[in-house]
């Protein structure tokens, strides 16, 4: 197995761990400051292939990210409404998360996966302690605050709304350029104070 394959395997495992431990921060391997797209590419290489579709949205760098992901994985580009994976440049989907597909009751797995490609520094004051996360993978009965700083409360509210009809919904991953990631699968219940 070559080096990049081995790295993809480790990163896939990190994604799995993050999905199993919602709200906690984990780290992808071998994502340095080489390129601002490196972390997003590392996730793309774990999840994308020519059989799945992709949509990149958000301001600043979305075209470059789309070109890199398509070039590296041959994933198909589709609209927000039909894409299997949605990469959001920035930390706010500007309401786009509501357009993402949430699956059908017979096939909830058809719901989209969102990858928020955040900046290095939190763009806004963190009010993460207003958020409580509970559900599978969170041992604390009272819930936990998301460990990653800089995700606005509005985005948590959007996800809360989109995932209200479990098992329909979307799975979300928040990613920083240094490889830090936090996952919020649709099974996680979000409470805003």
């Amino acid at each position: 197995m070559d080096k990049s394959n081995r790295r993809n395997q480790k990163n896939f495992r990190s994604l799995l761990t993050a999905m199993s431990r919602p709200g906690r921060v984990f780290r992808l391997e071998a994502v340095g400051a080489v390129s601002p797209l490196a972390a997003a590419m590392a996730v793309g290489q774990c999840l994308l292939d020519p059989e799945v579709s992709l949509c990149v949205t958000g301001n600043g760098g979305s075209l470059a990210l789309q070109a890199a992901l398509v070039g590296g994985t041959q994933a198909r580009v589709e609209s927000l409404e039909t894409a299997d994976f949605i990469f959001v440049c920035g930390v706010q989907s500007q309401g786009n998360v509501r357009l993402a597909k949430r699956g059908r009751l017979e096939s909830p797995e058809e719901g989209a996966t969102l990858v928020y490609c955040m900046d290095s520094q939190p763009a806004c004051a963190s009010d993460r302690f207003r958020i409580r996360l509970t559900g599978p993978g969170i041992a604390e009965q009272a819930g936990i605050a998301p460990e990653m700083r800089g995700v606005p409360v509005e985005e948590f509210k959007e996800l809360m709304e989109v995932n209200a009809d479990y098992p329909l919904g979307v799975d979300a991953v928040f990613l920083r350029p240094n490889g830090e990631l936090m996952a919020l699968p649709r099974s996680t219940r979000i409470h805003v104070r």
């Binding site: 197995m1 993809n8 395997q9 896939f12 290489q45 774990c46 994308l48 292939d49 020519p50 059989e51 994985t73 041959q74």
Partner: protein, 367 residues
């Protein structure tokens, strides 16, 4: 109530994993290298590749080492790994008449075009323990192999292509043409993407059998051979060899050869019962990764058995066969019984005690 979450015991669980390491590698002998397993335990590696449905000899050897020789576990590990891989494309269809054969026999005809090639097999060897292997001399074994290759050079080279034996029957019009769409449509389905539904198309049947567990396939096929079914198979042809795998490059559009895979292919001939139609032979087909003749023959027998219009035995009922031959599913189900069932069992226990003491059970409980 089915199951309850059980808390505690995390340290014991972690220790259990560590003790497995001691069990596998705590002995005095040198640790096994995956390449030793790949080369010298090749039947096990082939079985793991077939049941794990991933052609990767190095990784199958690694999985076999990790699983300490448990083929179920090793296939499970390999199939899990398979699900993490990107699907880069689809190979071009492969004609097996272009196989680079290392073994090819027919039990239907003595003289077949191209001849019978016995190749490497223990079929004609007495099953007696070979105590010489206890202290096998590396130099003597290598000398034997060198001598074998020297002698082989004096023989005529093998032909590049061997015609299919069953083609002779087909040319004479003695073979039944399989009814198109029998078993639910002609479309090529991918069982890793679509859940099985019944009646399953033949492509789904063959895929399920090809990654079935060898012992499971054998048990069902054996039941048919012994009389719980109507297939009386004759092996038209059994081949072991290497097939070229080609791929259409999506960028250049050209067909590129990626390499070779080793497969075993079996075609069994069975007479169609009078009640089933005209006097013809019908064919059962089996193909699996690696060198696994038992599996290929059992698969071919089951393929033929499942073609029956009205199943009269379990091995002829495709739903029965296809839902029970997967080793990972069946092993997983069997082993899930080791998980705590404290609450369900306690309720059963209470119920039984109440019945024995003559009281009516207070609550209906089912697991």
């Amino acid at each position: 109530m089915g199951y309850v979450a059980v808390k505690g015991g995390a340290a014991a669980i972690e220790n259990a994993e560590k003790f497995s390491l001691v069990r596998r590698a705590g002995g005095a002998s040198a640790l096994l290298k995956p390449e030793q397993i790949r080369e010298q335990l090749h039947f096990a590696v082939d079985r793991v590749m077939g049941e794990g449905s991933l052609y990767a000899p190095d990784l199958a050897a690694l999985a076999f080492k990790q699983a300490a020789g448990d083929t179920f576990e090793a296939a499970f590990i390999l199939r899990s790994y398979r699900t993490t891989l990107p699907r880069l494309g689809y190979a071009e269809p492969i004609g097996t008449d272009g196989m680079r054969v290392i073994r090819r026999i027919s039990a239907a005809f003595k003289d077949i075009p191209g001849g019978q090639i016995l190749g490497p097999t223990p079929d004609y060897t007495l099953r007696l323990l070979n105590f010489d292997l206890q202290e096998e001399s590396s130099s003597r074994t290598r000398q034997q192999i060198r001598q074998l290759f020297q002698d082989a050079q004096r023989q005529d080279p093998l032909p590049e292509r061997f015609p299919k034996v069953v083609e002779m029957l087909r040319r004479e019009g003695l073979l039944e043409t399989r009814r198109r769409g029998s078993g639910g449509g002609d479309g090529l389905v991918d069982i890793t993407r679509q859940a099985l539904s019944f009646p399953a198309p033949r492509s789904a049947q063959l895929q399920t059998l090809a990654r079935g567990e060898t012992g499971g396939l054998l048990a069902l096929a054996y039941s048919n051979m012994r009389g719980y079914g109507s297939v009386h198979p004759v092996i038209g042809e059994l081949r072991v060899g290497f097939l070229p795998v080609s791929y259409k490059n999506p960028l250049s559009g050209s067909i590129e050869r990626l390499g070779e895979i080793q497969v075993t292919e079996a075609e069994v001939i069975s007479r169609i019962a009078a009640a089933e139609g005209s006097a013809l032979f019908s064919l059962g087909y089996g193909l699996c990764f690696g060198h696994n003749e038992t599996k290929a023959i059992a698969m071919a027998v089951l393929d033929r058995a499942m073609a029956c219009e009205e199943p009269a035995a379990p091995s002829e009922d495709q739903e029965f066969v296809l839902t029970h031959v997967d080793g990972i599913e069946s092993m997983g189900f069997c082993n899930h019984y080791k998980l705590p069932h404290y609450v369900t069992f306690q309720s059963e226990l209470d119920r039984l005690r109440n019945i024995q003491t003559g009281q009516r059970p207070t609550e209906e409980t089912r697991s």
